[in-house]
Amino acid sequence: MRVNGTVHPAPPDPRRLLSDHLRHDLGLTGTHVGCEHGVCGCCTILLDGALRHDLGLTGTHVGCEHGVCGCCTILLDGAPVRSCLMLAVQAEGHEVTTIEGLAAPGAPLHPVQQAFHECHGLQCGFCTPGFVMSVVGLLGQHPDPSPEQVDEGISGNLCRCTGYASIRRAVHRAAELSKR
């Protein structure tokens, strides 16, 4: 699978979630390639686990662990999906983009990230990567979203800190910044 542009082999345990794989295994190379047909038990790691624990990409967070809170949202071939609901092996052959892949280290923030900063769309920052990835997906679908489309588009992400008003503003600001 490609994660933020770099090719990585499939994680060793088939039951591993993608989120755990991404978060906890930075630099893991040369490990068992998951067999594509086989019964090796290599490939069931969940995507969020794989991202966090195998690839050391801890920007993707795990909240509810059953797809409801949106903290684990990443892009799969450009579309937002829940990494806690994917086995890591299912990402083979696909392009995974995590929050770390939106802007290269040292490079300017992606317009969505910039908008969240300008509009105070984050406080503790735990839900933020999931929101940012969902909003990138939303603006890909609706580059000029109406207020209803914004509310609908962010309704799948939960935030305990902000009360959502600033996040709403951030999405509209992100649409503006993305048009430039």
Partner: protein, 268 residues
């Protein structure tokens, strides 16, 4: 939700091998025939398509199949096309694809409306229509939509092909007449001309419905109020219903919602 005993030990960086599901053997067939052959020969197998319902069950270990058959590698199984005026949705067509489909918007707009009520867009990017039907959650919108439209599913196995009408498919909570060796390869939704509508009540947008209904013409299919979607008489929708009570709603409240939803569906 805390699940005692779920956690293992955190290991030093690079050695963490936490997993959530119980052990299973993973298979990724690349053809329908291969998938059917696996379903025929493997005991205690579950099909993995979108995973948006199955993976949480695996993670909480509420489902512990010995074998997981991931059908996502099967090519040419994600089409949405016209048939007999209606729309066929193949097994790997994502709910988001159905939502965006112009063909669905033209031929079966009721399906388009129904799929927009399923969870949230991010879930719909992976979830499949056929998966939702085969999963048969009583609170789901899509089984009731298939029932209201009087559509059918097509199941394949090593033994051949079987067409299963919606009225013969759903038997109980998470239970259908699908045999253990059968794979749902497509669902057919008849054209929705005439009057159609879907309405549901839930605590929050995107939650499972406490009660809901699908109207097609004079037909009314209710969901969330019985072990399966049920056809009801619009003039007396609560007759014969014994909805369950749980933390979300009492039986009486569900019956009340059935009347509210029915009135809304047939108001126009």
């Amino acid at each position: 939700m805390a699940v005692p005993g779920r956690r293992g030990i955190a290991l030093p960086r690079g050695g963490d091998n936490r997993v959530k599901p119980a052990p299973f053997a993973y298979h990724a067939p690349t053809s329908i025939e291969e998938a059917c052959s696996m379903l025929a020969s493997l005991e205690d197998a579950k099909v993995l398509a979108g995973g948006q319902s199955l993976v949480p069950l695996l993670n909480f270990r509420l489902a512990r199949p010995a074998h997981l058959i991931d059908i996502n590698r099967i090519p040419n199984l994600n089409r949405i096309y016209e048939q007999d005026g209606g729309v066929v949705v193949q097994a790997l067509a994502r709910q988001a694809e159905v939502e965006d489909s112009k063909l669905v918007g033209q031929r079966c707009p009721l399906l388009g409306l129904a799929v927009r009520l399923v969870a949230h867009r991010v879930i719909r990017n992976r979830g499949t229509v056929c998966g939702s039907l085969a999963h048969a959650d009583p609170a789901s919108e899509l089984p009731a939509t298939l029932l209201a439209l009087n559509g059918h599913l097509v199941a394949r196995s090593a033994r051949g092909t079987r067409i299963i009408p919606a009225t013969d498919f759903f038997t109980s909570v998470f239970e259908t007449t699908l045999a253990p060796d059968e794979l749902v390869v497509e669902a057919w939704f008849p054209a929705s001309t005439g009057k159609y509508a879907i309405a549901e009540e839930s605590r929050r947008h995107g939650d499972f419905a406490l009660a809901g209904g699908v109207r097609y013409g004079d037909r009314l299919a209710l969901f969330g109020v019985a072990p399966t979607p049920v056809l009801a008489d619009p003039k007396n929708p609560t007759s014969g219903l014994h909805p369950s009570g749980d933390l979300e709603a009492t039986p009486e409240f569900r019956l009340h919602l059935v009347q509210v939803v029915t009135d809304r569906l047939f108001a126009a």
